[in-house]
């Protein structure tokens, strides 16, 4: 248990707390690709329903309804709820500018899911873009740690 009980507004970021926060955020990076898979699966189902009804693109109302009634999208967001609880906890023990970039590992897993599960074509420009984004996030994180 933490010794910070008397002064709730003061948050001492000890190395131990920071390590714990980093560990939790790393666990979060595995939740993201699972959630993204479910959300994309459900979004495709919404689009297919809309297509068969000949009503053009999926409306905002159909999207809101879909988030709560499509089992895939709803489970995806349940995973995001778990993610959010873990992330709020991690934020108590670490700095936003360190923890937020760590989540970038999820880009690799999500790109793999896009290619494998949804048969999305990869090309050098896309892969370079994803790699540059990850490099940017790493630089951002290192810059924030000082």
């Amino acid at each position: 248990m933490s010794s910070v009980t008397a002064l709730p507004e003061v948050h001492v970021v000890t190395p131990e707390n920071r390590r714990r926060a980093v560990f939790i955020v790393l666990a979060c990076t595995l939740i993201i690709p699972a959630a993204q898979y479910l959300i994309k699966l459900g979004a495709n189902q919404l689009a297919a329903q809309q297509h068969s009804a000949h009503t053009g693109s999926v409306s905002i109302q159909a999207t809101i309804l879909g988030i709560f009634t499509n089992p895939s999208i709803f489970s995806g967001y349940c995973l995001y709820a778990i993610f959010t609880v873990l992330f709020v906890y991690a934020l108590r023990h670490g700095e936003l500018s360190i923890l937020y970039p760590l989540i970038s590992l999820a880009y690799v897993w999500v790109a793999i899911i896009g290619a494998v599960a949804f048969h999305e074509a990869m090309n050098p420009l896309k892969l370079t873009g994803i790699a540059i984004i990850m490099a940017g996030v790493t630089v951002l994180g290192r810059g924030s740690a000082k």
């Binding site: 999207t63 970038s104 420009l125 896309k126 873009g129 940017g136």
Partner: protein, 119 residues
């Protein structure tokens, strides 16, 4: 082009809004104590969650058309906004390294856009 511009625009807009959600969650987390009321009556956490909901609607609408491998990395535009918000609201220092990181993210998003157009 397999991912339409409208989907990219929706996801980018959702990400900018979502980055504000992180700011509310961060300030809400600061106000947490050991007492249960500090989480139930925490308006900052509530606003943070509501902001995420709005950003989710835009994100899912964007995802109904286009590729996950293009749209999901576009969410990283939120990091650029987060740098701005954390400077404005938490007085976090904007270092050269942070600016370089944000610049790289922007270049990466542009590459993704070209990669999408090349299909």
């Amino acid at each position: 082009m397999t991912t339409p511009m409208s989907s990219i625009a929706l996801v980018l807009a959702g990400s900018v809004i979502g980055s504000l959600g992180a700011i509310f969650l961060k300030s809400g987390a600061h106000a947490l104590t050991r007492h249960w009321t500090s989480i139930v009556f925490n308006w900052r956490l509530a606003v943070g969650i509501a902001t995420y909901l709005l950003s989710s609607v835009l994100f899912v609408k964007g995802m109904t058309n286009g590729e996950l491998s293009v749209l999901f990395p576009m969410v990283s535009v939120g990091y650029i906004c987060t740098l701005l918000w954390s400077h404005l609201f938490f007085q976090e220092r904007v270092t050269k390294a942070k600016l370089a990181g944000v610049g790289l993210i922007l270049v990466g998003i542009i590459f993704l856009g070209f990669g999408n157009a090349a299909h």
